[in-house]
Amino acid sequence: MQETKEQVASSKAEDKSAQESEKTQRCLKLLEAALYVAGRPLSLTELSSVLNTRSQQKTKKYVKTLMQDYSSRSTALEILELKDERYVLQLKAEFTPLVKKLVNKPLLSSGPLKTLAYIAYRQPVTQKRVIQVRGQHAYSHIKLLKEMGLVATERSARSMTLRTTDYFADYFGLSHDVSTMKRELKRIFGETGQDAEPFKDESGAESTKRDI
């Protein structure tokens, strides 16, 4: 059967756009696969190598599309962009306390996590102050948080000052700039403060423990 020129042109265009779309889908899946298996922030360079392209611009376009897919879909997972154009796939933090019992690796319990929240919120803050507010237990919390690279100490003339690390900021997808980060945290605490019903028990038990 003979085809007219227009028909050929249009079917070629369709083919091409179908191919394009297929290619896009494949790239998106590859990026998703990479972020899923790595479980850590990946740089544009690493992501580009998975796509087998040298164009970081292209990779960026794809990863942004994937981010949008994730945020528009009803899902417990999120893809975040960190500083220095790094990207990470993770569980939304609100789900952590609900499923952490299924995690097969040692996790921080809520005591140290509260101390971490306090340090993040009040930083830079003296160790003395943290102990006053959180109790003697907080010494071991601080030790643990330092071991995990979430908190760092600075020793000044008269005291030890605590602050969170860049790793901490990355882990939570927060700004590396302290004052911006504190604003972001306020928003988070404001939000979880309202729908934090399931945590109430824990935090209640915690505050009675604190003053031993």
Binding site: G39, T96, K114
Partner: protein, 231 residues
């Protein structure tokens, strides 16, 4: 009167009960009577100087302070809240967002290390528990002992000085208390030095057969009737 001569209860915190003129001026909520009285009694027991007159005054002052508290309560003055640790907003715990992470360990890795472990398993046989050597092997000790021997004179003098200081009063010290907290190697060194000191007659050594404790006495020992020393 010098401060050393002052009875303890005229020092803080108990002095508050004995400065009658000041009593009426203080804020009764700031005084923890139970604490003052119980520590007062403990202190008196400790010093062994029981003073009924002082006890009477303390009791009288306490009663007065209680009376002041009661009066304030009756006039509906709220007692101040107990001192609290500084109030500060403690945010809810920051849960780390979890990330699924594939790990690289495979069954091949497991098998590789299994091979190593099973080779190691042959060494300690379960049927015959291998006796752990009590002392470090000679080859471990020798190089260190060489240096040790070179400085032996100085070490002996040092140990002798230490002994002189430690035996004050009794003139005798147990080996176990001398080496308390020392490593095995340090203990061995100390014992060798003691042998040298004993040889020079600077100290005497003997061992209790029942407890196996070694006793060290300064100088040549002359314990009449103790058979172990003569042998």
């Amino acid at each position: 009167m010098s401060t050393e001569m002052k009875p303890f209860y005229l020092r803080p915190p108990w002095n508050i009960l004995f400065e009658i003129s000041k009593l009426e001026k203080l804020t009764p909520w700031n005084v923890n009577i139970a604490y003052l009285l119980s520590t007062f009694l403990l202190e008196m027991e400790r010093t062994g100087k029981v003073d009924f007159r002082a006890s009477g005054v303390a009791l009288d002052s306490s009663a007065l302070i209680y009376l002041m508290k009661s009066k304030l309560l009756l006039t509906l003055q709220e007692p101040p809240a107990p001192p609290k640790s500084p109030q500060d907003f403690v945010p809810p715990p920051l849960f780390l967002p979890l990330r699924h992470e594939l790990t690289s360990t495979t069954i091949q890795h497991l098998i590789e290390v299994l091979n190593e472990v099973l080779k190691g398993e042959k060494l300690p046989s379960l049927d015959k528990v291998v006796a752990q050597p009590v002392l470090p092997s000679v080859s471990d000790l020798m190089p260190q002992i060489d240096i040790f021997l070179m400085e032996i004179e100085a070490q002996m003098a040092k140990l002798y000085a230490l002994l002189c200081e430690k035996v004050k009063g009794t003139g005798i010290i147990e080996f176990s208390s001398l080496i308390k907290g020392a490593t095995r190697l340090e203990s061995i060194r100390t014992f060798i030095l003691l042998l040298f000191l004993a040889q020079e007659g600077k100290i005497s050594l003997w061992q209790d057969e029942a407890t196996e404790e070694i006793y060290i006495a300064m100088g040549k020992l002359n314990l009449a009737g103790d058979e172990r020393t003569s042998s």
